[in-house]
Every structure is written in structure tokens, then in C-alpha cells.
């Protein structure tokens, strides 16, 4: 419960931030954090709760970005464009998940890895030109609506995971994650639960991609399909605490802020640091920051 109040406080603080400090760099940092929260939470649903290692999350983020951007630039209302992006991302998810989830183990992982690579290469070949907002919309470009849209998405993703974690559906997913055979024996259909988790996860990832496409003035369409997004999602989720509600939020704050700080000083060495940290977390501290915090507290209380 304490975490829930902390989350509400954090959300309120971010909502009020633009009123206190009108600094563009802070707004941009905020948007990065919100997008990271949404992307990590979306991975958390399929990877953390349903236990299926998605190695091509960029495919769904990119699909959402591409569809939203194309429609929005063509004059379709933003919310409709976002919904369409989420829908297409989900469709890609089901195309992979449908057949892959009938099999066990690695097929889903390598299938998603392959899908992301196909989309990245094809989009790079088909749309090599940089995508820029038309001049008319550029004049009206303002950071604040992007900030609040991204904040809204981040809150939506956290609330979705919080509701899911306690629901019958979410418990079913966790049962499948822990032991598929036992879950099946207890009447929890593994296939349906995995596919539902994937649908929710990919639609959120598609929305995150859509907000990214709405936020950036110009970017190469291929960039939204870059493996970077998959790395970000995994690193944030695992460093924060996979399979928890607040882990990805802590992870996103930690990751984005530290990354911005390190990137200025060390160029790309931050990736080396985060990559190593990620491996260490998987190997030694599977609960991430959340578990580290709990352990530290226990240590303090015991000695105090």
C-alpha cells in the first residue's frame, strides 16, 4: 500500500512539475521517463507476469510508432491514430504469439527476435527518408501536450499492471509462469493466458510507440524498430524488479536519469555499465532494485 501512495505522489509531482519549473530540458527528461515506464511495464506484463521472454519488443513499439505517425501526419485525429497504432502492434503480436505459444520454450523468444529484425530491415529499405512533421503542425508544436500525454500513458500502464496483478487473469498468468503443467492441471489454460498477456503487452507497447511518434519532430522511421527499445525495456524491467508493479517505475527513473548523466560524460560506456548490471541482476539479484531495497531494510531492522 505504501508503494501505491508513493506512486500517486510521484504522479502528482510530475503532473505539477510544469507549473513550478518551465524548463524544456526537464519536460524532455520527463517524457523520456514516462515512455520508458510505459515500455518497461508493457514488457513486464508478458515477460514478468506471464514469464515469456520477448526479445523483439521493438517490433511492437515500432509498429505503433509507424502507424500512428503516418495517420497523424495525414490528418487523422491523434487519438484515433494512437488506437490504430496499438491495434496494428497487437495484430503483429498475435501473428507471432498464436503459433509460437502452442510450442514451449524458446520459439516465442527467437520468433520475436526475428520479427523485430524483419520489420527493422524492411522499414529501413522501404522508408529510408527521415520523417518530419509538416510545416503547418510544426508551427503549432508544443511540448506540454506531449508531456501530459506521455504522463497519462505511463500512469495507464502502471494502473493496468496493478489491476492485472490482483485480477484472476493476472494470477492465472503468474501460475503459467511458475509451472505450466501445474497451471493446466488446475484448469488455467496456458495458451489463452499467454496470448492475452501478449495482447495487452503489445497494445501498450504500440501506444508507447505512438506517443514517441507524436513527440519527435523528426526521426528515421527505422529508428523506432531499433533493438535499443528492446534493450531499454528489458534493462529497466530487470534492474527495477521484474514481475512487480513498482519495479519498472523505479527502474525507469534510475535508468533514464543515470543514462542522461553518464551519456554526457562517458558517451556510450553507460551501455557497458547497464549491460553488465543487467547480467548481474539476472544472475544474482532476480528481484532487482525492489529486492535490494527489501533486503537492505531487513538488514537495517535486524541490526537496529
Amino acid at each position: 500500500m505504501k508503494w501505491a501512495w508513493g506512486g500517486v505522489g510521484l504522479g502528482a509531482a510530475f503532473a505539477l512539475l510544469p507549473y513550478v519549473l518551465q524548463r524544456e530540458d526537464l519536460l524532455n527528461l520527463g517524457i523520456l521517463i514516462f515512455l520508458s515506464v510505459a515500455l518497461a511495464q508493457s514488457w513486464n506484463i508478458i515477460g514478468g507476469y506471464a514469464g515469456q521472454v520477448n526479445l523483439g519488443h521493438a517490433a511492437f513499439f515500432g509498429a505503433g510508432a509507424l502507424v500512428t505517425r503516418s495517420l497523424w501526419v495525414a490528418g487523422v485525429p491523434l487519438l484515433v491514430a494512437l488506437a490504430a497504432g496499438a491495434l496494428v502492434a497487437t495484430a503483429f503480436g498475435l501473428v507471432i504469439g498464436g503459433p509460437a505459444f502452442r510450442l514451449r520454450g524458446v520459439y516465442f523468444s527467437i520468433g520475436t527476435l526475428g520479427l523485430a529484425e524483419i520489420l527493422r530491415i524492411s522499414v529501413g529499405n522501404l522508408l529510408p527518408e527521415i520523417s518530419t512533421i509538416p510545416a503547418a503542425s510544426l508551427a503549432a508544436y508544443s511540448l506540454l501536450p506531449r508531456y501530459y500525454l506521455a504522463l497519462g500513458l505511463a500512469i495507464l500502464s502502471v494502473v493496468a499492471v496493478a489491476l492485472l496483478a490482483r485480477s484472476r487473469l493476472g494470477l492465472g498468468m503468474q501460475a503459467v509462469r511458475e509451472d505450466e503443467a501445474a497451471a493446466e492441471a488446475s484448469g488455467v489454460g496456458a495458451f489463452g493466458h499467454k496470448l492475452t498477456a501478449l495482447a495487452i503487452s503489445t497494445s501498450l507497447a504500440g501506444l508507447a510507440g505512438g506517443v514517441f511518434a507524436y513527440y519527435h519532430v523528426s526521426y528515421y522511421p527505422q529508428h523506432a524498430f531499433s533493438p535499443t527499445w528492446t534493450f531499454d525495456a528489458l534493462l529497466i524491467t530487470f534492474i527495477g524488479g521484474v514481475g512487480t508493479i513498482h519495479g519498472p517505475v523505479l527502474g525507469a527513473l534510475f535508468y533514464v536519469i543515470l543514462k542522461e548523466y553518464l551519456a554526457v560524460r562517458l558517451v556510450d560506456v553507460h551501455l557497458l555499465i547497464f549491460g553488465t548490471l543487467f547480467i548481474l541482476v539476472v544472475l544474482l539479484l532476480p528481484g532487482g532494485l525492489v529486492e535490494a531495497w527489501a533486503r537492505a531494510r531487513r538488514l537495517v531492522y535486524r541490526s537496529g
Binding site: 514451449r104 520454450g105 520459439y107 529499405n125 528489458l234 553488465t276 539476472v282
Partner: protein
């Protein structure tokens, strides 16, 4: 009345282009097979899927590149250094990371190996950019442009050398696995590690050997890639996917199956270049992979 002869000559031209492409496809296919054999060995024996296999290949390529540019070592000769170096790197990776992964139960084992491999790709990729910059490199020997002309087809000699060497190495490995004591231990462990342990085979050391052999194969393949093609820090994922495609095509457990699968993939890609154009070369291979993955998950050639 000159229309038919021109169209006939045109057809002949297309046939030559197709034949030339197929030859090149066959040549690169041998390297696909070599890359896949290493991955298949570790996957088949340890039941861990090392997604960083392509990054190890990339490191091997840079090893050859370094030996050539710093000391002028012939790239084919440098494999004698690169192979053992990557073998040692494999031992280190096993002792530091994968030793802990293989102790887990089958499903956790695969999941953790995927995650750790994914983290390693980030680490190696960043490291390679630091050490060698993001530029494309290749080893340009005195005989780099040499080619044999057979029946109007051009056969680059360094690529032919790569293909022959790939086949020779797989043959040697096959002999090792079937004749040598440790080779048999590897096969026994792959079949049933518990029974192997009961027969007095030191399972963990066998795992270590198989893993290091796999990374060594990746390194040698990388060395061959750097002579006949080019390397850059970004090629890792591409080669991992090639190896995975081949494994899906050929199934696990047979070195020559991997080799044949590699040749098949090379030829299929080459044919697709002629039919749909070079821009989709990667996408066609990957699409083939997804279709097979989703329809015939045990591989076209049967097997496990």
C-alpha cells in the same frame, strides 16, 4: 526479325546472373553453417541458447583483423590464434556466467541463458565500438581480389577458401565427437546428463568443453567472415539470426545437417536477391525462418 535472339540472349544473361548469385550464396552458406554448428552444439548439449553467439563471431572477426593489421598475420593462419583465444573466452564466460545458468531447471535454464546472452550482446557490441569504432572493416590481403573463372562464373578464392575450411573444421569436429573420449562424453551428456553423470562423466567439465568449442567455432567463423566479407560491431545480431535460421531449418544435433542447412540458406537468399531484389535479402531469409518456425518447429530435416 531480331526480337527472338535478343530475348534469348537476355534469358541467357539472367541465367548467368542467377548462377553467379547461387555460387556466391553457396560460398556464404558454408559460413552460415559453421556459425550454426557452434550454436547448435551449445544448445544441443547444454540446453542453453546463447543469443550472443553472433557477437562472439564478431569478436573473432576483429581478432583476425587485429592480427592482420598489427602484425600482418595472414587471416587464414590467424585462425590458429583466434580459435584458441575464443575457446579461452568461452571457458571464462562459462565459469563466470553460464556455469550458474546450467544448474537451474530446464525452463529457467533456457530463459536465463536468453537473458544473459542478450545482456552480453549489449556488452560486446559496446565494447567493440569502443575498441574498433563503428566502421565496417575487412581484412584486405594481397590475394583479396583473386578469383577463379569457371564456365563464365567468378569464384572469389578467399570465399572458396572459407567454404572449404568451414567444411574441414566441421569434419574434424565430427571426428572428435565420434572418436575421442571427451567427444563421446559430450554426446553422452547431450543425450542424458543424469545417465552420463552416473557413468562417471564429469558433467560440468563436459559442459564447459562443449560451450568453449561452440564459442571457438563462432570465432573461427568470424575470422573467415573478416577475410571474405566485412565486419562491424553491429553484425552480431544478424549472424545470431542466421545461425538460428539454419538450426530451425536443419534441426539440432547434426553438424553436417547444420552445414547443409547453411548452404541451403545461402542459396535461398541468393535466389531471392535475383527474384525480389537485394533490398529484401535479409527479410526473405527471416521470413522463411518465421514460416518454418511456426509450421515445422522440429526443422525440415527432422531431428529433435
Amino acid at each position: 526479325m531480331s526480337a527472338p535472339p535478343i530475348s534469348a540472349r537476355w534469358r541467357e544473361g539472367v541465367d548467368v546472373i542467377l548462377a553467379q548469385q547461387l555460387v556466391l550464396g553457396l560460398l556464404v552458406g558454408g559460413l552460415y553453417g559453421l556459425a550454426a554448428a557452434g550454436l547448435s552444439l551449445t544448445f544441443g548439449v547444454l540446453r542453453v541458447l546463447n543469443i550472443a553467439h553472433g557477437e562472439l563471431l564478431m569478436l573473432g572477426g576483429y581478432g583476425s583483423f587485429w592480427l592482420f593489421t598489427l602484425w600482418g598475420v595472414d587471416p587464414f593462419l590467424s585462425l590458429l590464434g583466434v580459435g584458441p583465444a575464443l575457446f579461452v573466452l568461452g571457458l571464462v564466460l562459462f565459469i563466470v556466467l553460464f556455469r550458474f545458468v546450467v544448474r537451474a531447471h530446464e525452463e529457467i535454464r533456457i530463459k536465463n541463458s536468453l537473458l544473459i546472452g542478450f545482456g552480453l550482446t549489449l556488452v560486446f557490441h559496446t565494447l567493440a565500438i569502443r575498441l574498433w569504432t563503428a566502421d565496417e572493416r575487412s581484412v584486405t590481403t594481397a590475394y583479396a581480389g583473386a578469383a577463379a573463372k569457371i564456365a563464365g562464373l567468378t569464384i572469389p578464392l578467399s570465399r572458396l577458401g572459407g567454404l572449404i575450411l568451414a567444411f574441414a573444421i566441421l569434419t574434424a569436429l565430427h571426428l572428435f565427437l565420434t572418436r575421442a573420449r571427451w567427444g563421446r562424453a559430450i554426446r553422452a551428456t547431450a543425450e542424458d546428463w543424469e545417465a552420463a553423470a552416473l557413468m562417471g562423466i564429469p558433467v560440468e567439465r563436459t559442459y564447459m568443453l562443449a560451450f568453449a568449442l561452440g564459442t571457438s567455432l563462432a570465432g573461427i567463423a568470424g575470422g573467415l567472415v573478416s577475410v571474405a566479407y566485412s565486419i562491424s560491431p553491429a553484425i552480431g545480431l544478424e549472424w545470431t539470426l542466421k545461425a538460428l535460421i539454419v538450426i530451425v531449418l536443419a534441426g539440432l544435433g547434426s553438424l553436417f545437417g547444420s552445414f547443409a542447412g547453411g548452404l541451403l540458406l545461402g542459396v535461398a537468399e541468393a535466389a531471392s536477391v535475383v527474384v525480389v531484389g537485394g533490398a529484401y535479402r535479409e527479410a526473405v531469409g527471416l521470413l522463411l525462418f518465421l514460416v518454418i518456425l511456426l509450421t515445422r518447429p522440429s526443422g525440415l530435416f527432422g531431428g529433435r
